[in-house]
Symmetry: C2
Subunit: 154 residues, 2 copies
């Protein structure tokens, strides 16, 4: 049982960006840290942008940053926005042809188990995944889309 790579990398991308508040992160930087292809990360960044979790600043000195405070980025909501496949078993797909469809309880029991899984994620936010900020360390603050980063990456 696995979440898709898209979801796995999405969580890691948000965690990395969340650990570097106050500056813009670049895709090549994150790709290098995690050993993930830049092309894959670009796709994920785009998806997280559409879902409202990341903001992208284009141009020289641009990069990505969180679109909300970590405490406002709910993990269950993130997973729902990027996980493309919640059909844990074939009979949960729309086009399944199982002879038992409609007469067995497998789908409902597995669906309820999935709800328990998601309910646990719903109780956590990105803030729970990040280390406590050190004294004096930069905290995430509202930034205007398109603004140049306040400081260069360390």
């Amino acid at each position: 049982m696995r979440l898709t790579t898209m979801t796995d990398y999405s969580m890691r991308l948000l965690m990395y960006v969340g650990q570097h508040p106050g500056r813009l992160c670049t895709i090549s930087e994150v790709a290098g840290v995690y050993g993930i292809s830049e092309a894959h990360l670009m796709k994920i960044t785009h998806q997280l942008g559409l879902a409202g979790w990341l903001e992208t600043v284009r141009g020289k000195g641009g990069g990505i940053r969180l679109a909300a405070a970590p405490a406002d980025i709910n993990l269950g909501a993130v997973v729902r926005s990027v996980e493309s496949d919640f059909a844990l078993v074939d009979c949960l797909t729309a086009d399944n042809a199982c002879m038992l469809t409609g007469s067995c309880r497998l789908t409902s029991i597995v669906s309820e188990a999935l709800q328990s899984f998601m309910a646990h994620l719903d109780r956590h936010t990105l803030a729970d995944l990040l280390p406590a900020p050190r004294d004096g360390a930069p905290r995430l603050r509202p930034m205007t889309f398109g603004k140049r980063p306040a400081r260069v990456p360390s």
Copy 2:
């Protein structure tokens, strides 16, 4: 997020056999009903036999039957015995090289969510997946390994 095909088919195989108590089912019969390859089902049957959920009767007139009453076949236990991959995210694998391993809470939060998922399955047995037996319909009864089936498949 998906269970492996092995787990999916294992549940369906147990459901089919559980719906035909009092007789032996054949792999070719189950393969035909679900549209699954016989070779795949043989592998699954072997695994379910090792785990103690199915019994196999060899020879002419042989087949497979449940090794216990449906109410004694716990769904969580079945999934644990056949699901080969519970590493929902890469950082749950033993050989992951994530820079955050040991310092982030993603693994623990996802592991707890998985425990919630499995706890729900633990509250159900194969009996919950089967239709209530009709009056006079055959019920599962203890059978000696190697005994010929009491009646031929209907």
